[in-house]
């Protein structure tokens, strides 16, 4: 039952990612990786909050699997982050943009997750 819920939540997560990233990208102009960055950071906030709620005893592990592993897991993406970084990495300026995209999302994501987990 939890597995079915996780898979269905994954379908919704992928759809939500497409809508939010597309909405941002349509307004971001030349910032080619902004949509994925926002999606990844908001999804990390959601997942970390769910894990924190589980630690606090408010949420069962089944719900964390469905909403966290299922929805937030599919809502966020690692592969698009990597391939977009490869795409922008042409030339010297591009390499710097790719490095900022890689390091920025990594630092922001783990910092946000760390703060939320520490608050719980």
């Amino acid at each position: 039952m939890t597995a079915v819920g996780m898979v269905l939540a994954g379908a919704l997560g992928a759809w939500a990612r497409y809508e939010l990233a597309g909405w941002i990208q349509a307004r971001a102009g030349t910032a080619l990786t902004l949509g994925t960055a926002v999606v990844n950071l908001t999804g990390t906030v959601v997942f970390a909050a769910l894990v924190a709620a589980q630690h606090a005893g408010v949420l069962s592990s089944g719900w964390v699997t469905v909403l966290g592993t299922g929805f937030a897991g599919a809502f966020t993406t690692f592969s698009t982050w990597m391939v977009e970084s490869v795409h922008v990495a042409g030339g010297r300026v591009g390499l710097r943009v790719a490095a900022v995209n890689l390091g920025g999302q990594l630092l922001a994501g783990s910092a946000v997750a760390g703060v939320i987990l520490a608050l719980a």
Binding site: G10, A74, F78, S79, T80, M82, L102, G109
Partner: protein, 158 residues
């Protein structure tokens, strides 16, 4: 129909078949508009990718500090996305639903950033800073290398 002696069974079957084939295909007119077919393809791909991620997690349960399941998913997904996206973008004629289904939906959901970030935070928060840094940098180095390899392989002879 075959037992009916008044009509030749062969003729009747052929007639029915011809009628079916020549009928205006109603489903073709009732098809969803393209933006919604794209959303549906992304959702179906998202379900498949999430199920695959679940299977890898079951096959590689957490054993020690290093989260192998997420690492394997993220690196293999980056390789596949680099390869398939490049292939599909070079394909002529351009197909409309393959990229939403396999790239945005399936591989986007098969790999995950939120679990990755929470795992790093959890390692760093439990005095396993070395493992946290190693896991973070290892995932990014291997993932970027895999995506680059996939893009190169996908761009070959096309």
């Amino acid at each position: 129909m075959a037992q009916d002696g008044h009509i030749h069974p062969d003729g009747a079957e052929r007639y029915l078949l011809l009628r079916l084939l020549s009928r205006p295909r109603r489903w073709a007119r009732r098809r969803l508009p393209l933006p919604w077919r794209r959303r549906l393809a992304i959702a179906v791909g998202g379900a498949v990718g999430t199920a695959l991620r679940g299977l890898v997690a079951v096959a590689l349960p957490l054993d020690g500090a290093w989260p192998w399941a997420t690492f394997v998913e993220n690196v293999s997904g980056s390789l596949l996305l680099g390869y398939l996206l490049t292939r599909f973008l070079h394909a002529a004629p351009r197909t409309t639903l393959t990229i939403p289904l396999f790239c945005t939906g399936m591989l986007g959901s098969y790999t995950t950033f939120s679990t990755f970030a929470v795992e790093i935070a959890r390692l760093a928060g439990t005095n396993q800073t070395g493992a946290a840094v190693g896991y973070a940098l290892g995932s990014i180095t291997a993932g970027f290398g895999a995506a680059l390899l996939g893009v190169r392989l996908g761009g070959r002879r096309s």
